[in-house]
């Protein structure tokens, strides 16, 4: 090294040091996460966690607990995340029970309505304080979770409230309220079959399976997966030149002969309309 070489040796030293440090940090002593929180899970595992929350909710009807669990995931919009995941589950052909559970929880969450189907059994231990969640193992030196409110796994002792969420009942099959109606909306130019399902008291019903049939195919989905459009709402994108039939619920009335139809706006421009099919439980 002579003076006329300039300061490049400093850069060389930095690079050598960086490489040595990189090898150590990424190969020899990599960060391992322990004692993590649900909000730290990878995206795929967060989806699995969310799906499990929905399944547990579908089993117990305990929205208080489901909300507490959803809060652990730290989603900005838990209801929206549930609805999106429910739609993805349908599109990806995942089990219908999973999509239905996600959709029901999305609807319940958006209503903020506690549906408790099985109140906790009273016993002396039931009123004991919930677990503190104190870590029983030492947190990782490099990825220690910060102190966070811990999910209360204790069964809530609140008084069950009557549900405001209409749920599908094993009653009479759904029948068509009126003939399918062509809906012309210039803002929505993709042809769709829009299904709305109501119960006997004219309340929208989420979680009803809608079956769309066409030659060579069929599609199953549920009402309520787009809660912002209505709890009993569901839609399906149509293809031109295909004739569809729709059924709501297991033994619901079949509506056939639905195909794309055109609408015309004020300026004479033509666009695809959508078909509205409304079902009601007599």
């Amino acid at each position: 090294m002579t003076d006329d070489r300039g300061p490049w040796y400093l850069l060389t030293g930095l690079i050598i040091g960086f490489l040595l440090g990189f090898i150590y940090a990424w190969r020899i002593d990599r960060v391992e996460f322990v004692d993590t929180r649900p909000d730290m899970l990878s995206e795929a595992h967060r989806d699995q966690y969310r799906s499990l929350i929905a399944s547990a909710y579908a089993a117990t009807g305990n929205l208080v607990r489901a909300e507490a669990r959803l809060a652990l995931l730290g989603d900005e919009d838990p209801g929206g995340a549930l609805a999106i995941q429910a739609q993805e589950a349908v599109v990806e052909g995942r089990p219908l029970e999973e999509a239905r559970a996600l959709g029901l929880l999305a609807v319940a969450f958006s209503q903020g309505n506690a549906v408790i189907s099985s109140p906790p059994q009273a016993s002396p231990t039931d009123t004991a304080p919930p677990p503190t969640g104190t870590p029983t193992t030492e947190p990782s030196q490099t990825a220690s979770p910060s102190e966070t409110p811990v999910l209360r796994t204790q069964s809530p002792t609140i008084t069950p409230l009557p549900s405001r969420t209409p749920t599908p009942t094993a009653g009479a099959p759904f029948v068509v309220q009126q003939e399918p109606e062509l809906v012309c909306n210039p803002a929505s130019k993709n042809p769709m079959i829009i299904v709305e399902v109501f119960d006997a008291s004219d309340q929208p019903v989420p979680g009803v399976e809608i079956i769309v049939l066409w030659e060579g195919g069929e599609e199953h989905f549920f009402t309520g997966l787009k809660p912002e459009l209505g709890l009993g709402y569901a839609d399906f994108g149509m293809g031109p030149g295909v004739e569809y039939a729709v059924r709501a619920g297991g033994g619901g009335e079949l509506v056939s002969g639905i195909s794309t139809a055109e609408c015309e706006d004020d300026s004479g421009e033509r666009y695809w309309g959508s078909w509205l099919v409304q079902y009601v439980q007599p």
Partner: protein, 118 residues
């Protein structure tokens, strides 16, 4: 001599920068954490959720698949760990019963045999 000293300092700075990136910055930006790393109370609640779902669908295969995300251990061992934590922290009897019920079903020879089948 000064040049060698500065050279060593620059190497140390390079090492420090790489360690900071590798241990602090990049892991926090690119976290790929699985349920197996969850803290014990969250794991216990995960087991409880699986048990609650199982109580309704009776799908033992699905329950085993979900529990397998928590540990490489057999599912019964995972549940036992959760039950111990739950007992220690005085979970409700309903929750304990749900978890114990799933564990019992997993231990039942005929059902466990079916669940082991793909």
């Amino acid at each position: 001599m000064l040049r060698w000293f500065l050279f060593l300092i620059s190497i140390c700075l390079g090492i420090a920068a790489a360690l900071y990136l590798g241990w602090v910055v990049l892991p926090s930006q690119n976290v790929q954490v699985s349920p197996a790393t969850l803290r014990i109370d969250y794991k216990t609640d995960y087991v409880l959720m699986v048990s609650e779902a199982y109580s309704a669908d009776n799908n033992l295969e699905l329950a085993v698949e979900r529990l397998s995300l928590l540990s490489d251990q057999p599912p019964t061992a995972v549940i036992n760990e959760a039950v111990l934590f739950a007992a220690k922290n005085r979970y409700s009897q309903t929750d304990m019963t749900l978890m114990q019920g799933l564990s019992d079903d997993l231990l039942a020879p005929d059902v466990a045999g079916e669940a082991a089948q793909p």
